[in-house]
Amino acid sequence: MKTRRIIAIAKRDLKRTAREPAALFMIFLFPIVFVIAFGGAFGGIGGSSSPTYGVGVVNLDNISTGVATGQQWSSLFVNSLSATKILNVQAYPDNETAQMDLAQGKIQAVMIIPSGFGASCSSFLASPGDASKWVNTTVLLYFDSGSLFATQAISPIFQQVLGTLLDGGQQTVAKPISLSTPSLVNVQKTSAFDYMAPGMFAFASIFMIMIVAQSFALDKENGLLKRIRMTPTSPSEFMMSQVLSNMVTAFIQAAIVFGLVYLMGFRPLVSSITIVLSFGLVLVFSLCNVGFGLITATIAKSSGAATGIAFLFLLPQLFLGTFVGASLSGAAQSASRFVPSFYVTDALTSLLLRGAPMTSPTILLDIAILVVSSVAILIVGILLFGRILRES
């Protein structure tokens, strides 16, 4: 296996993609148009670049104690929440008024700061290591169950701000203040742009099936595969070069989609490691699409036929595993368990939208299934297509 050959062939693939208007359109322009179209339809554009969500704050700590420290702590907390720029914090005199506005959709959440809040904070700072000396309190949160962002994102923001306030963000340490959401939140899938954004990555990547299938079929048709076989290039070198060039393409594509959904207001509140992991998952998923592309190219007798056959692999993945099928019937939702795109979208949704830790069982299971199925499909593709490379 010679790296020089692999890179030489990968380079020509990338040049082809860059110079072929049809490929360029499929891989880059089409996803861009789609993201913008969906973003426009579902509120990603038009509003301010950083979306704000109304949170009503009822600060009981102010009234009851009147102690200066209590006021300081709670107002510090409220100010920090406003400083995130995502939340538009409004003060309410009492719970009832706040709940009325919440019910009318004027605000998306209500937070009740209990009377012992300041005391609780002070007790923590006085002896951070000794939980027995803490004054425990609970901050109550009420959400609008119809607002997806509220149910999914506000709680982590609160958690984070609270953590930063108390100990500079060392979230592992136990704290005297807990957040509680008394109203059971019914999470519903909606077509909000925020919810769709994770599915955009899989959506864009799926179109690589068609590009890969077409380019292999064309190489076959034009005698270029034979021409390469006349050189000392081995089939494995050739296959490696294809994987390499398509990974580069997938990376650029994911970066474009990420930049675009970010510009349109998608702000995943996660660490950079999570972003890197998400990109990694998209790249793994692209292997699966290269595999499907190879299988298509093996079956297809011509590059024209390849386009048609590619749809067989493309459409189920598109409808069952990306944002396109967010409101599917029960049967279709079970069927979606059989397409790899479901797992990458599910993992990205959990990671980016729900802020789930990457070690959570759901995500680990998603990643495991994604990796195993993608590698398996790629191997099947390579074996099938390899027969063409070696045929006599």
Binding site: I9, R12, R16, R227, T231, P232, T233, S392
Partner: protein, 277 residues
Amino acid sequence: MKVEAEKVMSPAGSPQVPDPEAMNQMLPLGERRAAIEIENLSKKFDVVAVDGLTLDVMEGELFGLLGPNGAGKTTLINMLCGLTKPTVGTAKVGGYDIIKEIDKVKDQIGVCPQETALFPYLSGRENLDLFGSLYLMPKDALKKRSQELLAGIGLLEDANRRVGKYSGGMKRRLSLICALVHEPEIAFLDEPTVAMDPQSRHAVWGFIRDLTKDGKTVILTTHYMEEAQELCDRVGIIDHGKLIALGTPAELIEKYSAKHLEDVFLQLTGRNIREEL
């Protein structure tokens, strides 16, 4: 010429001991080593394309492979360069077995296929660069060699244009130099001059002659008998996969009391147009 001179001088420090390579080049054709040894080679598709063919091509020889459409010329070349597996028989190319040591064979050879296969979205120069890289040529040498070849074949001005926009003859010329970019010891040129204007054809002839002057072995197929007569040291005429005549053009013309090689060809293969199965 330069290469030969260097060969005579080596090994370094003992110029009085001639290099056996160079010695071999100076021998008359019949006494040289064989670059290609074909033994009873056959290939059967639905039809028998190559039928028990035995033939030696000598080092430094310019060998013309002639025959009507469908005679089996391309199939023979495809077997020799590892693209098609023989049904029966074997062959050695550059001393290596085409079945067991095909990787070593591929390092030695350059192929200009009958059907032009170039990367249309790359420029002429980029095509050369890609092929040179596949043979792991050092980058500097590759750059220099590409420049020489492009100039030699008259493609320098169009070197940075995309090949998709080339004319048919330009593609043929590029295809030829892509086959030769890595200076292969043995070149298979399957109808290299087809679709070329007389100017280009003469340029290509010059190219091919230079190759053999450098001691390279060339297998050339062509349907232009005057081209074969003009260029080739020896020609082999095959029909229905079998070798039916072999010799220098002059020998064959004399043997069949013909005016020129085309006469010989028509005498041997008849005047009927070949219908493919």
